[in-house]
């Protein structure tokens, strides 16, 4: 497994690809709801979107315990992640710096991940969730820091309980998880500060 995983290449240019992918993530989280794009070509290991894979290589390393959904943990991802990023996979959600989910695995309750502490709210998990599509689903209205007035997204494939879970997460502020939705090579950032409401159809 490890041998095949290492055959899948990482970034063609580790320095500049990581920089441009980081800027996409930075733009996504500082402007919630905008759709950002990973600019560099990347062939992800099976089960992972290109954007999720790029975020892995950009942000994860030896210092960040990574939680993987069951499907991802069983495939080529752990070996690929270890080889290219030196990151260790953990099965402890509450101790993970990042958690990655493919689009078919169920998303556990946000409260199972690290929420940070009141003293150190930055020590919370960033969840990267692949969805079926970033557009075309039920319309959600976003407001909060990073958004001029209000903004709209319509991702497809969020869990049914998402809005309730998000409201609970939002109520924990300054604690709470941060969420990045990915599909293909595109992503949307949902930091803990954002208010999300369903819009009437």
């Amino acid at each position: 497994m490890v041998a095949t995983a290492t055959l899948i290449p990482g970034f063609a240019d580790p320095v500049f690809d990581a920089q441009s992918s980081f800027r996409a993530a930075m733009d996504a989280l500082s402007r919630p709801g905008t759709i950002q794009q990973i600019g560099c070509p990347l062939t992800p290991p099976k089960g992972l979107s290109a954007a999720s894979a790029a975020l892995m290589l950009t942000l994860c390393d030896y210092d960040t315990p990574v939680y993987l959904s069951a499907a991802l943990a069983q495939g080529a991802v752990p070996g690929w992640l270890g080889f290219h990023a030196g990151a260790k996979v953990t099965s402890d959600k509450s101790n993970s710096a990042f958690a990655f989910f493919d689009k078919s695995s169920p998303l556990p309750a946000f409260s199972q991940f690290s929420q940070g502490t009141q003293d150190y709210p930055d020590r919370s998990t960033t969840i990267v969730l692949e969805v079926a599509s970033l557009e075309g689903g039920a319309r959600l209205s976003l407001s909060g820091p990073g958004i001029k007035g209000a903004n709209e997204i319509s991702p497809v494939g969020l869990p049914a309980t998402f809005l309730d879970q998000w409201r609970a997460n939002r109520a924990l502020f300054p604690r709470g998880i941060d969420l990045i939705l990915t599909c293909g090579n595109r992503l949307i950032g949902l930091p803990r500060t954002v208010n999300i409401k369903a819009l009437e159809v």
């Binding site: 950009t58 300054p174 500060t193």
Partner: protein
């Protein structure tokens, strides 16, 4: 030693950049909260912009255009030095034009020109903790932020009013970000505080020696602390800029002679030059024109 050939793009190694980038993302997610980070030793002294330099180095890419200012000016020696550093280690395009820059690293000023969505403003911060001069202990101030216990700050400002009849803080004037964290805007004059509110640009703050990174996302409420009977107000200048005639901008006082002669000119050198290029003339230049005629 082939010194520079050994250094990575933008000086920092990739592991350090990842660490800083993670801190930046958390800082954006918790506006105004100071994220601890493992600040590195930089090849310039602590207190001279190492935090700003590390933030800039972590976000900078080959397509960026960098502007560096100190006291609002591009030609102050430390601004020149930091700009030269990035030209050397990142071969990045630089500019003095605010409108052309994608990243602006600053010490003590916010440019006069309104910043846009495609721009990032990186502040160099000496003391990131707004409560530090009221309570020197990190363990205590961390607790105050955790509990949103900011009474001490209001007491301080109110003591000013009692003693001086007004709030006597003129720079590094504390702000509340997104209704939660009280934040130090870095030692910018309070004149610049309103520019932070609902800015279209992302604002990142780096404190190297104190090992903290914090952020104000775009379009975020940044409110200067004040009282109903003593509302926040910014400095005003009696005269316009002597060179470009601009009003409602921050001016530097320039002493002209030893007989009390002085003039006031824009602190933002690019703003002033741009206006003069457009044909705007202040008192001093108008006089000269007359003298020449």
């Amino acid at each position: 030693m082939t010194a520079l050939a050994d250094y990575n793009f933008a000086y920092l190694d990739e592991q350090t950049k990842r660490m800083i980038r993670r801190a930046i993302l958390k800082a954006i997610a918790i506006p105004g909260y100071q994220v601890p980070f493992a600040s590195r030793e930089m090849p310039m002294p602590y207190g001279w912009g190492t935090g700003g330099v590390q933030v800039t180095a972590a976000i900078l890419g080959p397509h960026d255009v960098l502007k560096v200012i100190d006291q609002g000016a591009d030609d102050t020696t430390n601004a020149v030095s930091i700009r030269a550093f990035f030209q050397k280690v990142a071969d990045v395009a630089v500019t003095t034009k605010t409108s052309e820059a994608t990243i602006i690293q600053t010490r003590h000023r916010i440019p006069e020109e309104t910043l846009g969505e495609n721009q990032v403003l990186v502040y160099q911060v000496p003391i990131p903790e707004p409560l530090r001069f009221l309570e020197p202990r990190e363990t205590e101030t961390r607790q105050m932020h955790a509990l949103e216990e900011y009474g001490l700050m209001h007491v301080k400002l109110y003591e000013d009013i009692a003693r001086h009849g007004r709030i006597a803080t003129t720079y590094a004037y504390p702000v509340k970000v997104a209704g939660r964290y009280v934040m130090d805007p870095s030692p910018t004059p309070k004149f610049d505080n309103p520019k932070m509110n609902q800015s279209a640009a992302l604002q990142l703050f780096g404190a190297g020696r104190e090992k903290r990174i914090y952020a104000v996302p775009p379009y975020t409420d940044v409110v200067s602390l004040d009282f109903e009977d003593h509302p926040f107000e910014v400095q005003t200048f009696e005269k316009p800029c002597a060179l470009c005639g601009a009003r409602h901008v921050y001016l530097d006082e320039v002493v002209l002679d030893d007989k009390g002669g002085r003039m006031f000119v824009c602190s933002d050198t690019d703003y002033c030059e741009t206006r003069r290029e457009e044909g705007q003339r202040g008192e001093m230049l108008a006089d000269m024109k007359e003298a020449a005629e």
